[in-house]
């Protein structure tokens, strides 16, 4: 085992890990926000609007992540839209995960008891305030673990971005192994770091669940 190489190359891994971390964090926040916005047409009473939004979401969910990356980075320029690798990485991550987040949030909202909205209406809530104070928090509590799962998926998918030379964690591992001929050590170390990242997400979900268990009627 060439642990010394990994030790000496820690800065490379740190840069890769840092890039993976911020790409995933930013795209999670953005896709959650956009997913929440997409809920408006997804829950609309207008069937045409709802159908269009649902089609968009399904299309987004049913395209392989790698293929979407290729489309954004290699195919868009042939249409005259050039994007650098960072923008391509963010666009791909956000677009792909927005579709998932929208579907997750929609399902959570659809399962909310109708009485909750009734009570909110009767007490003067409407529009954004209804969503922010009454609906949104309950939907988030209900779907927290599912969002955690999606976040883990997103972290793993982000490894594909090494193919368009985004210097994230997998790219760093690949760089170190090919430069110093230490594939086992390098890829193993990267794997450990991914496990740590996902472990962090699991920990967050677990903390959220502790709060959610106070709130869910199922414990009665």
């Amino acid at each position: 085992m060439r642990v010394d190489v990994i030790w000496n190359q820690l800065p490379q891994f740190a840069i890769g890990l840092g890039n993976t971390l911020w790409l995933c964090t930013v795209s999670t926040v953005l896709s959650l926000l956009l997913g929440a916005l997409l809920m408006v047409p997804l829950m609309s009473r207008n069937t045409a609007l709802r159908g269009a939004a649902q089609a968009l979401v399904d299309a987004g969910r049913c395209i392989p992540f790698l293929l979407l990356t290729y489309l954004v980075y290699f195919a868009l320029p042939t249409l005259g839209v050039t994007v650098d690798k960072w923008s391509a990485a963010l666009i791909t991550l956000v677009a792909y995960n927005t579709a998932y987040m929208a579907e997750i949030l929609r399902a959570g909202w659809a399962h909310l008891p109708a009485g909750q909205t009734d009570a909110a209406h009767a007490f003067g809530y409407t529009g954004w305030k209804l969503f922010r104070r009454i609906i949104g928090p309950q939907v988030l509590i209900a779907v927290g673990p599912v969002i955690g799962n999606q976040l883990i998926q997103l972290i793993k998918d982000s490894a594909f971005l090494s193919i368009i030379t985004v210097p994230e964690l997998t790219f760093a591992a690949n760089y170190v192994q090919s430069y110093y001929f230490v594939p086992f050590e390098s890829f193993l170390f990267a794997t450990l770091l991914y496990w740590a990242l996902c472990g962090g997400v699991e920990w967050l979900v677990h903390r959220g669940e502790r709060y959610a268990s106070l709130v869910r009627p199922s414990n009665g």
């Binding site: 009734d118 007490f123 003067g124 529009g127 869910r216």
Partner: protein
């Protein structure tokens, strides 16, 4: 001069349909300020729908709802009457309190937070003042020791008492009860009815859809008897229970004796 006071709630020729089925037919009703009115009738007679039409949770297909003379759902302009926007409707609904069969407390908020939520975030009253009033109300319904507990940890009777405190915290002009004890275990009904009797005595206008005949007899000023979407009988509670005027109300009361 017109000497009669304005009714707290007035329904004029109200009609409500679900698809082709007419659930409410030609409902005319006046409820005066301070009155407690119980709406009785067999299941499916349209009682809950009638109640939900008052705060527009169900939109009537025809007719008029007036709250202290203000029309609910429409407002008048120079060019005629226009449907209210969601915001206008929301504002009007804050004047009407509601207690639901299944409580519908907000599970992500504690007992106290449930009670202060709408006065603080919708009515925008000062938080300190609202908390003080909410604590008084929780004291009144006997649940001040549960102020920081989440609804999931309460019994049905406790949840319904919190729901009543939540409605009272809005300082409503009218309080609607939609079968408030129907979802409760029999041994928990009494504690909720006791709180409702207390409120009836302070002179709030109350409209109660219920199957609790004892409560109706003791607490109601008037009874409205509904059958198949029509008002068949309106009478003082005494008169209704002693001498029901119609065959249908007699049959109905038979089953509760």
């Amino acid at each position: 001069m017109d000497e009669t006071p304005t009714p707290a709630v007035e329904l004029r020729s109200l009609v409500k349909r679900f698809g082709a089925h007419e659930v409410l037919t030609d409902i005319d009703l006046q409820i005066m300020p301070g009155e407690t009115v119980c709406i009785l009738g067999p299941s499916g007679s349209g009682k809950s729908t009638l109640l939900r039409c008052i705060n527009w949770l169900e939109r009537p297909d025809e007719g008029t709802v007036l709250l202290h003379g203000t029309r609910v759902g429409y407002h008048f302009t120079n060019s005629g009457s226009l449907p209210m926007t969601d915001r206008e409707l929301a504002l009007l609904r804050t004047r009407i309190g509601m207690v639901f069969q299944h409580f519908n407390l907000w599970p992500h908020l504690t007992v106290l937070q449930n009670v202060i939520e709408s006065p603080v975030y919708v009515l925008r009253r000062p938080r300190d003042e609202v908390v003080a009033e909410a604590e008084r109300l929780l004291e009144k319904v006997g649940l001040i020791d549960k102020r920081d507990v989440y609804p999931a940890f309460l019994s049905g009777g406790q949840m319904q008492r919190v729901a009543i405190a939540r409605a009272l915290a809005m300082r409503p002009e009218v309080l609607l009860f939609d079968e408030p004890t129907s979802a409760l275990d029999p041994e928990l009904v009494g504690e909720v009815l006791a709180v409702m009797r207390d409120i009836a005595h302070i002179g709030l206008t109350m409209i109660v859809v219920t199957h609790e005949m004892e409560f109706a007899r003791e607490a109601a000023d008037r009874i409205v008897f509904l059958d198949k979407g029509r008002i068949i009988e309106v009478a003082t509670a005494e008169a209704f229970f002693a001498h029901p005027a119609t065959e249908r109300s007699r049959q109905f009361l038979e089953r509760y004796r």
